[in-house]
């Protein structure tokens, strides 16, 4: 590890994009307002000037078709990075994502593959209400043929894109909108990182808090608070929701015997349910207490701050659920 450079999550992604465009002439970036506007969350700012309008392409508002065009271009030898401004709009492109990107390789008997990267912002917390606050990463993780990654750290923001571009499959990158301003140190030569394992972000022996993406900072804050109260929580960052790294989760829970899952998705049918099911299937007898879930309330995200706060997983909720989990006597 060389000395770190101060940077932000946003800049980490931007430099990953820049490097990808420099490294491989097959790479191009396409999406709504990635160019002249300067990028929706300013992630792509400056790339148009550097790489020109052929490789940094502003698209019309046509989610289904520019995603589908990304699939076609990938099948035809390019390495497109398609940006869907926010995952809320990915619903318009779901046919292309599920019926084409996820199936073509299998359906063609392996003759074609779709080395496509789709980036989208996800998550709530900015009071933008029901149609702009979805957390759909767990939902997309249901679909075989896709890979779904959720960078939560600067290192992953920078490195996952690189690896995703080297993957011959469609990889969906969900960037939590509240992370863009996150700052920290990143080695100047930070490179690719694997995109198929979970990682323990904090060691602990009493309980495992399993989470990912925008909830990781909350989980770490909760663990900090719990430590004050004498509870040593291990925090596992799933990193990739499909394929799910069952081994790492099971190893952690086999050590701690208790689990709390924190997931910004709506509770029912979220990835938290799948993690619970895996724990039951793989280490049922290691569980000393029921698995707890801290998820979003089952409401279309409301605008008002106090309601939105109440609808989303908060540090206090995580602390409470974890306390509850550790205080349960087997």
């Amino acid at each position: 590890m060389t000395t770190g450079v101060r940077t932000s999550y946003r800049e980490a992604i931007r430099s990953a994009l820049r490097e990808a465009l420099q490294r491989d002439p097959r790479v191009f970036v396409m999406g709504e307002d990635v160019g002249r506007y300067g990028g929706c969350y300013a992630v792509t700012k400056g790339l148009l000037e550097e790489f020109g309008p052929e490789r940094v392409r502003d698209t019309p508002l046509s989610e289904s078709t520019f995603v589908g065009a990304g699939i076609g271009a990938a099948m035809n030898g390019m390495r497109p990075i398609v940006e869907i401004m926010t995952c809320n709009f990915s619903l318009l492109a779901l046919d292309q994502i599920m019926n084409n990107a996820a199936t073509v390789s299998h359906m063609s008997g392996g003759q074609f593959s779709v080395p496509l990267v789709i980036r989208m912002a996800t998550g709530a917390g900015r009071q933008v209400a029901a149609q702009h606050s979805h957390s759909l990463e767990g939902w997309f993780a249901h679909v075989p043929g896709l890979k779904v990654v959720t960078p939560a750290t600067l290192e992953d923001a920078r490195g996952m894109l690189w690896t995703a571009l080297e993957d011959p499959n469609p990889v969906l990158i969900f960037e939590h909108a509240l992370l863009y301003n996150a700052e920290g140190e990143l080695p100047a030569d930070a490179g690719p990182v694997d995109i198929d394992t979970a990682r323990v972000r904090r060691e602990g022996r009493d309980v495992s808090i399993v989470t990912y993406g925008g909830s990781l900072p909350k989980a770490l804050a909760a663990a900090e608070e719990l430590a004050q109260a004498g509870v040593q929580a291990e925090v596992v960052d799933l990193r990739t929701l499909r394929p799910l790294d069952t081994g790492t989760i099971v190893a952690s829970v086999t050590k701690t015997h208790r689990a709390v899952i924190v997931d910004e998705g709506w509770r029912s049918g979220s990835i938290s349910a799948e993690v619970t099911a895996r724990l039951v299937e793989h280490c049922f007898y290691e569980l000393d207490a029921p698995v707890r879930r801290v998820c979003s309330a089952e409401v279309p995200t409301p605008y008002a701050k106090h309601m939105e706060d109440a609808a989303l997983p908060q540090v206090a909720d995580i602390v409470a659920a974890t306390q509850d989990a550790v205080s349960t006597v087997a």
Partner: protein, 325 residues
């Protein structure tokens, strides 16, 4: 028929001023942190909402976008509930759940506040279909930006409304940009009325900076729709004076272009006409501004005094209360 009397012209001026001043206040309150989330201002485009609404009857329906304060105010949604909504209060138009982008008002048949570009178009087709099936003579007026024209839902909705002869007035607000994307970078054919006529419906365009022209065109369009069967497409050529939203650094358009359009401010234009006619002097204008200012202030006071929804009611309305009638 449009009523080009001085009184009516004054009315149009008042409507536009109500929108303008309300939004200027909103911008201020946004900076003060009283309003949050996304805020899309309509400033510069007031002639469109003010002009079109004149042609609609109370029983007609309005489907709007996320840039809908202008539509809501001109339609008659109270400024108090509108502002309270942006404050996130229980007395807000949508009980604090919607915010700026999701103003709803059943009383004036104001159906959003839709923040998915193009997403309101199918709803409008459905509203019109219901009216047609029941034999109601209503018109559904659907606003959308020129950016929405590239979306598949635009195409499907135009076709379905024309095919089924449904009473929809498609009001395309062509302000030349979709966020930072200029019309010529989003449409292979930039003459939108021409494009629309390929669906076999009457389509024309109008100067969206001229409130009287808008009113006349809308009147003619609404009359055509009401005469039926079938929709009409109206392209309003307009411009937003402000950034797309409060976050937009406006890198994509030259300052001169903005300045040139500001020369055509629809409010100044009507004021000038009225002054020429001797129907408006400084005193009258001040009085008018004063009345509007008081309405805006009252709305702010209402919003400030309004209450927060109880968190016990967080999940209320996720499912409708009671059985359907």
């Amino acid at each position: 028929m449009p009523r080009h009397t001085e009184d009516h012209r004054l009315h149009l001026l008042r409507e536009m001023l109500r929108i303008r001043r309300f939004e200027e206040k909103s911008a201020e309150l946004y900076s003060a942190g009283k309003i949050r989330g996304f805020l899309h201002l309509y400033i510069g485009e007031e002639a469109v909402a003010a002009g079109v609404m004149q042609s609609l009857a109370p029983d007609d329906t309005v489907v709007a976008t996320y840039r809908e304060h202008g539509h809501a105010i001109a339609r008659g949604v109270g400024m108090g509930p509108l502002m309270a909504e942006m404050y996130g209060k229980a007395e807000g138009a949508s009980r604090g759940r919607g915010g700026s982008m999701h103003i709803f008002d059943a009383a004036t048949r104001f159906v959003g506040g839709n923040a998915i570009v193009g997403g309101g178009l199918p709803l409008a087709v459905g509203y019109a279909l219901a009216d047609r099936l029941r034999g109601d003579a209503r018109v559904t007026c659907c606003f959308f930006g020129e950016g929405a024209v590239a979306e598949g839902e635009f195409h499907e909705s135009m076709n379905l409304a024309a095919l089924w002869g449904l009473p929809v007035l498609f009001c395309c607000e062509n302000n030349l940009y979709a966020m930072g994307t200029a019309l010529q970078r989003s449409e292979s054919e930039t003459d939108l009325a021409l494009k629309a006529s390929a669906y076999g419906m009457p389509a024309w365009h109008v100067d969206g900076m001229d409130v009287e022209a808008v009113e006349a065109a809308a009147q003619r369009a609404v009359t055509t729709v009401r005469g039926g069967p079938g929709p009409v497409f109206l392209e309003m050529r307009t411009y937003r004076f402000r950034p797309h939203s409060m976050y937009d650094p406006e890198l994509y358009r030259p300052k001169e272009e903005v300045a040139a359009w500001k020369e055509r401010d629809p409010i100044s234009t009507v004021q000038a006409t009225l002054r020429e006619q001797g129907a408006l002097d400084n005193v009258a204008l001040e009085k008018l501004e004063d009345e509007v200012a008081r309405e805006v202030e009252a709305a702010v006071a209402f919003a400030e005094a309004a209450t927060l929804e109880s968190l016990d009611d967080l999940a209320r309305f996720v499912y409708a209360e009671g059985a359907a009638e």
